[in-house]
Subunit: 127 residues, 2 copies
């Protein structure tokens, strides 16, 4: 656990609100998505995802351990939901993907930025 | 608790991913912000806020019961943090406002849309 920053307990005297920007360009890893943790708690984790135009590899399905809410904050994408087919998404579209609902990103624009909120993830067992 | 929809337990056979759009125009209530719950869990609540250009009334401070992460997803705003002064925010800016950190919206554009993720809120005591 970092000593300070966004994940610092609010009782930390060094904790100050710091503004960051979701759309700030991140360096491409050259091979796929870049995931940045933003905020986490006892049973949730919020992260941003810069896709860099990289879809989910063919044949791979995400199968989350908990419910996941996703927002396409910028760009466009096509999401494939197993048993439901394709969903074309544009900036501002959001949906809840329930646990056990397999899904993948079929295609995605270079500038796409997602927010993902994972529920039911126990991150801090001491809390 | 609704019988289905975004808050439906994922074990519900009626649960299907439904796409909504964060930027869809909502009718102004005529007097302030419009808050829409998006996703909630054992210890968190995610909501969207359409500001309709309405700042926090003079002299009023938000003083949350838990840590709160906020994103200005669209528009511009000026946030006042007690003891820190004013912060000018633009689309994509986000910050964590720790519990006990009093704050208010000094001014905000007509088209502003926020996301707010509240932590430490016990919503489902049975879980």
């Amino acid at each position: 656990m970092p000593s300070c920053g966004d994940f610092c307990p609010s009782s930390c005297p060094l904790m100050k609100p710091v503004v960051r920007n979701l759309f700030k360009k991140t360096p491409s890893t050259g091979g796929g998505e870049e995931i940045q943790p933003l905020f986490e708690g006892q049973s949730f984790r919020l992260e941003s995802i810069h896709s860099h135009g990289q879809p989910t590899p063919t044949g791979f399905w995400y199968d989350q351990a908990g419910d996941e809410w996703v927002l396409l904050a910028r760009g466009s994408a096509r999401l494939e939901i197993e048993g439901e087919g394709m969903m074309d998404l544009t900036s501002g579209d959001h949906l809840l993907i329930p646990v056990g609902c397999r899904h993948r990103v079929d295609c995605v624009s270079d500038d796409a930025v997602w927010l993902a909120l994972h529920s039911g993830v126990t991150l801090h067992s001491a809390q």
